[in-house]
Amino acid sequence: MSNLNTEMIEKYRNNFLKEVTANVEEGEWVKMCMQCGVCSGSCPFGPHWDHPPQELFMMIRAGKREEVLTSSSMWMCTSCYNCIVRCPRGLPITHIMHGLAHYADRLGMAPKEQPTMKFAHKFWDNIVKNGRVNELKLSLGVYFMNGIAEGIKTSLKMQAVGLGMYKAKRLNPMEFFGGHTVKDKSGMQAIIEKAKEIEEAKIKKFEG
């Protein structure tokens, strides 16, 4: 269990809703949900996940901390925004889903083999290096995410797509050796450091 996790359990003992309100992006909206069910019924993921948004929000209010944070549900959200446009209360549901996923990850509670999370990590590591996505390294990284054998299989399968992208100048083989960057790389990294600092301060500051 991470230190942050222990600390948060201590701080918000039995009040998971408060914890979410304080620490999760757009988490203050969770209490506005009136449990109508429109988001769940509109979500294209339908029956394919454990807890639709409406249920997750109720679980948060019911204090099911462990179950919510270890759930893979919020990692399944495809950001289609169906729920947001239909929610009669105007909850930014998609953003809350991502906020919950991010928070679970910070606490080290997200399910270990969750593919969306693995991709998100790869994407993040990739983009913070140069401030630009290195498509070549990212795709290769994703293909080989589940081992070498599967990676080769996927790479072969995706060959045509890769070639197409190359022709359309969306994929440059030279990216393998460094790749393009933003103009002020250290400035960009300073911004990210600052953002982290603000986020941590926010979590610290909130008095239950």
Partner: protein, 428 residues
């Protein structure tokens, strides 16, 4: 019409629905001079379009009959139909009001014998039945219409139908030369009772009102159940005229929703409970009603009614706001999709007919008021000093059921009377 005399001790009531009628009668019965104007050809408004109404599930024929009698007996009250307010100026105790009167093409000689309607051939969508049926170009708005006088649709003027109607009338009641008139009134106070209209159901895109024939609104369902309605009181679904026995009601259709009306329309839960009751009365055990709801808001004594409906064996309550409705192309049945809140079960339920418990919005849009009044976020008139002696009554003031609308109208009549009394006192 030019003989309408009004002074600054007259009260003008705008709108002849249940609220306007109540306000006008209360004031007139207190001895005040009242002019009641109504846009359509007869009084009664939305209540007259219901099959039955709360609190006692009366047929409107009963409640309106009493009010019609009161209006006929009262010499202080003058009624102008087909009349609308065009402009208002002045201040409390002294308003000038411009009223536009549309031609009816039928005068006081009319005995409502209906001979004109027999010979006229052109038919139009019947507004009284929310377009579910047709009516002739010469018509009586409905059986209880007060005044009992026919109307010629302006669209038949200048056609053969108009001449035929004129020739058929034995009482010389048809006057094809009638023109629009403008009348100036001086009044001391104004009661604004222009009421409500159903929210435009087509705007609730996922429910498919504009795409699926068997998705209708609660006001339309009232017309289907009414023996004087377009189906003679049979619940026939629009797609194929078959009897609908398995009926779904969707609550909060357009209400309590940031994408539509933010407010709770207050009447819709009760309307659906009433509808489940209609289905039960018509079909007994063969009927089935399913009410999809967020929470049932059955206020005060309606709660007893709610309990009675809950006990009916063929009524199911599903706690869920339906996410979408799609049509089963083979049989025209609407299929309801959603997730319920008691167990988070996903459903896809097929019904014969879907009734949207449609929300209530003010019938005059906020930017179209011919008079300066304070309008709230929902479009209703807010009680405010700056409104002078313009008082909202009934659903111009808020989303109200008949019971509360009538109470509200009586209160506004008292407010108007106070203004008139002080005008009279000053002129003493």
């Amino acid at each position: 019409m030019s003989d309408v005399i009004a002074t600054n001790q007259t009260i003008l009531v705008v709108g002849g629905g249940i609220s306007g009628m109540t306000a006008a009668l209360e004031a007139a019965e207190c001895g005040k001079q009242v002019i009641l104007i109504e846009k359509s050809p007869s009084l009664g408004g939305r209540v007259s379009q219901l099959y039955r109404y709360f609190p006692k599930l009366c047929h409107p024929t009963c409640g309106l009959e009493i009010n019609n009698r009161r209006t006929k007996m009262n010499k202080n009250l003058r009624i102008m139909t087909m009349a609308e307010v065009a402009a208002v100026s002045g201040e409390a105790g002294n308003y000038s009001v411009k009223v536009k009167v549309s031609p009816r093409y039928v005068n006081e000689n009319c005995t409502a014998c209906g001979d004109c309607a027999k010979v006229v051939e052109t038919e139009f969508d019947d507004e009284f039945n929310y377009g579910l049926g047709k009516r002739k170009g010469a018509y009586l708005q409905h059986k209880m219409a007060h005044p009992q006088r026919y109307v010629l649709d302006p669209r038949v003027i200048g056609t053969d139908d108009a001449t035929k109607a004129k020739e058929a009338c034995k009482y010389d009641a048809i006057d094809l030369d009638m023109q629009e008139e403008e009348i100036d009134l001086t009044v001391g106070a104004i009661i604004w009772a222009t009421g409500w209209q159903p929210y435009d159901a087509a705007k609730i895109q996922p429910y498919g009102y504009d795409r699926i024939a068997n998705v209708i609104t609660s006001v339309e369902f009232e017309r289907l159940c009414d023996p004087h309605g377009p189906t003679g009181g049979k619940i026939l679904r629009p797609s194929d005229g078959q009897e609908a026995k398995n009926v779904a009601m969707i609550q909060c259709a357009g209400s309590r929703d940031q994408n539509h009306l933010k407010h709770c329309s207050r009447i819709c839960c009760m309307a659906s409970l009433k509808h489940a009751n209609y289905v039960n009365e018509k079909y007994g055990e063969e009927g089935q009603s399913t009410i999809y709801y967020i929470d049932i808001r059955a206020i005060d004594r309606i709660d007893d009614f709610y309990r009675r409906v809950q006990e009916l064996p063929n009524v199911t309550f599903t706690k869920s706001k339906v996410a979408s409705v799609v049509e089963n192309k083979e049989n025209g049945n609407p299929v309801l999709h959603g997730v319920d809140t008691e167990g988070y079960n996903r459903y896809a339920n097929e019904h014969d007919l879907v009734v949207l418990a449609i929300g209530m919005e003010p019938s005059v849009p906020a930017d179209a008021f011919p008079v300066e009044v304070k309008i709230n976020e929902e479009g209703f008139i807010e009680a405010d000093e700056s409104n002078g002696a313009v008082f909202a009554a009934g659903c111009s003031a808020d989303a109200l059921d008949v019971n509360r609308a009538v109470q509200n109208a009586t209160a506004s009549a008292l407010r108007a009377i106070q203004v008139i009394n002080s005008v009279a006192g000053a002129e003493g």
